[in-house]
């Protein structure tokens, strides 16, 4: 146990080391960094602008008011932004596996995953998180919820667990690329498609699709179920109430599982001929 803890802290240290180095090197061009961050923020804000435009014609979407949607959207967006910041670069591993530069990661004395994840760490992704937090903040203020400390904590846990689940998805996508070095595209449509879908309330979609998302792709734990609970709504599947509390557990399980898949992928790495 102590050994495992040591190796974890070792990995985190390595991650921070590499990420910090990339941050320093991007900060040398401060103006371009600010532009990129703002651009990133604006680009992801466009999604929400589309929702706003929709609401200029209607009062409710699938029975949800604009502040409620802001809550859903803001929570997902923040979770995703966090995961993207931490692990978003892991998907580049496919490129490295294909061209053989992955070799060089294996001869360094720090965990490969830390190197892969921190590679080209881009602080400009804070833009998306900032935008998500802004929308979430507005949703929190405007939605018809009687906030208590417990509910606030619940929201926080939901966002963090959501980020962890997205991390697991990124990790699975990265691990997958050891077997199919050009699986990058597939993984991409999976995560980004998932994000767009999660930003709309579930009743808009067919019931079966929602069921599939809840059970097959546990991304629904990211925010649907918990936020529905916060809003005091029934979920369309009528799952028992405790299911919406399972987010953190699901996140931990998923991370463990995809961690194993990553390891298996690593073991099957076969380098290139030159």
């Amino acid at each position: 146990m102590a050994e495992r803890l040591a190796s974890w802290s070792h990995a985190v240290r390595a991650y921070l080391l590499i990420a910090g180095m990339w941050v320093r090197s991007t900060m040398t061009y401060r103006a371009s960094f600010v532009l990129m961050a703002v651009g990133n923020c604006l680009a992801s804000a466009l999604d929400f602008v589309a929702i706003l435009l929709m609401f200029s014609h209607i009062d409710a979407l699938g029975g949800f008011t604009l502040p409620e949607i802001a809550l859903l959207y803001g929570a997902t967006c923040t979770s995703f932004g966090l995961a993207d910041l931490i692990l978003g670069n892991a998907e580049r591993v496919g490129q490295r596996v294909r061209d053989g530069t992955f070799d060089t990661l294996l001869v360094r004395p720090v965990p490969v995953l830390a190197q892969v994840a921190a590679d080209r760490f881009a602080l400009r992704r804070l833009g998306r998180i900032a935008q998500g937090l802004a929308v979430l903040g507005w949703g929190v203020a405007a939605a018809d919820v009687a906030w208590t400390p417990l509910k606030a904590l619940f929201l926080l846990v939901t966002v963090v667990a959501g980020a962890a689940i997205f991390c697991a998805v990124f990790l699975a996508g990265a691990a997958f690329q050891f077997w199919a070095a050009d699986a990058s595209e597939v993984a991409n449509s999976f995560t980004y498609g998932g994000v767009t879908m999660l930003q709309y309330p579930p009743t808009v979609f067919a019931r079966d699709l929602v069921r599939g998302v809840t059970f097959v792709v546990p991304l629904a734990f990211v925010n649907w179920l918990p936020v529905l609970r916060l809003l005091g709504r029934d979920d369309p599947l009528h799952l028992p109430g405790w299911v919406s509390l399972c987010g953190p557990l699901v996140a931990v399980l998923l991370l463990g599982l995809t961690g194993l898949v990553w390891r298996a992928g690593l073991r099957s790495y076969r380098s290139t001929g030159s």
Binding site: L17, G100, T101, D103, L106, V107, P109, S271, S274
Partner: protein
């Protein structure tokens, strides 16, 4: 049964029947895919004592790089046993990483977009190199490998030779016990080659670093390696001194003579044969093990010479001859 196996200095690198089989899939017809096995390393055993410089040579596709990748823990062996500094690379890759340095001539281990200086800083912290030692090693590398002007240049802007020197320095900052070099002189000019060789020789003499080196340049081997191993088709076909290789391979050196004018082939110097004639220039082949001096003297005595030079045997030729002698392999 201790967890840390004692390192045996006589077998610092130890391979026992090492194998690597790649499954490759090939298109065979429209839809059919054919699975084929490539035995890249096919049962190799050797020991390298601590502090030795060993040349590891063989023709393209012989399995040199594959062997090095297994020795560094990049690839899992398909069979056999393997120990480096008492560590099993597949089981303890990260621990081994602290003890070894690796240079791939074909690709950099540095960060493509970072200046050399930042790459080195990162290496320092990854390997947790103590400050004093880092500074001393840096100074030495910068000095001997001529890196002073390159430190602030992003790696992607370095020329091949500059990058290679940068890579060699990066691999040595943490004072590794073992250094693997996979074609470290590929694409280097004569001056850089000499610099790199001198550097490696000093390193080995002063620090006792064990070096395993692959190359297609025989001069590297001649100037650095007391021992050379030749592999072909994944098998060890020769292991011994370089001279022995010349004998076994019956390799030839070439005396190139420029005469004053066109003359008939020089066929009256014992122990030589005329390989080629082009106008006043003639190529005389003689066994690599023989001294060139008496032959030069004999030619100079009998013919009007303008110029002459001795060409060392081409490593590929040496190897080719070696296989010709061992049809079973």
């Amino acid at each position: 049964m201790g967890k840390e196996p004692a390192t045996d200095d006589k077998a610092f690198i130890e391979l026992d029947g090492l194998e690597k089989v790649f499954q490759v899939r090939r298109r065979a017809g429209l839809l059919r895919r054919e699975r084929r096995e490539v035995r890249a390393v096919d049962g190799i055993s050797f020991r390298v004592p601590r502090g030795e410089i060993v040349g590891y040579i063989g023709p393209n596709g012989a399995g040199k790089s594959t062997t090095i990748k297994m020795l560094t823990g990049i690839l899992m062996p398909s069979g056999g046993r393997l120990r480096v500094a008492g560590i099993d690379p597949t089981r303890d890759r990260t621990r081994l990483a602290r003890r070894i340095g690796v240079v791939f001539g074909q690709r950099t281990t540095l960060w493509w977009d970072l200046p050399l200086r930042d790459s080195y800083g990162l290496v320092r912290r990854m390997y947790r190199i103590p400050d004093a030692r880092y500074r001393a090693n840096m100074e030495r590398c910068v000095d001997l490998l001529d890196l002073g002007d390159l430190l602030d240049v992003p790696v992607r802007q370095l020329s091949l030779g500059q990058r290679m020197r940068g890579d060699i320095a990066a691999a040595l900052l943490h004072d590794p016990d073992v250094l693997y070099l996979d074609e470290p002189t590929i694409g280097l000019d004569v001056v850089s080659k000499a610099k790199v060789r001198g550097f490696l020789r000093d390193l080995n003499a002063e620090r006792g670093t064990t070096v395993l080196l692959t190359t297609h340049d025989l001069t590297d081997i001649e100037q650095l390696c007391g021992r050379v191993m030749v592999i072909d088709h994944g098998r060890l076909v020769y292991d011994g001194a370089l001279d022995g290789l010349h004998k076994v391979g019956e390799s030839e050196r070439m005396l190139v003579v420029d005469l004053e004018r066109e003359l008939p082939p020089i066929d009256d110097v014992p122990g030589t044969r005329v390989d080629r004639v082009e106008g006043p220039r003639q190529w005389l082949a003689f066994p690599a093990a023989r001294s060139a001096a008496p032959i030069v003297a004999a030619v100079a005595e009998r013919y009007p010479l303008v110029d002459l030079s001795v060409r060392e045997p081409d490593i590929e030729q040496v190897i080719a001859r070696l296989y010709a002698d061992r049809p079973g392999l």
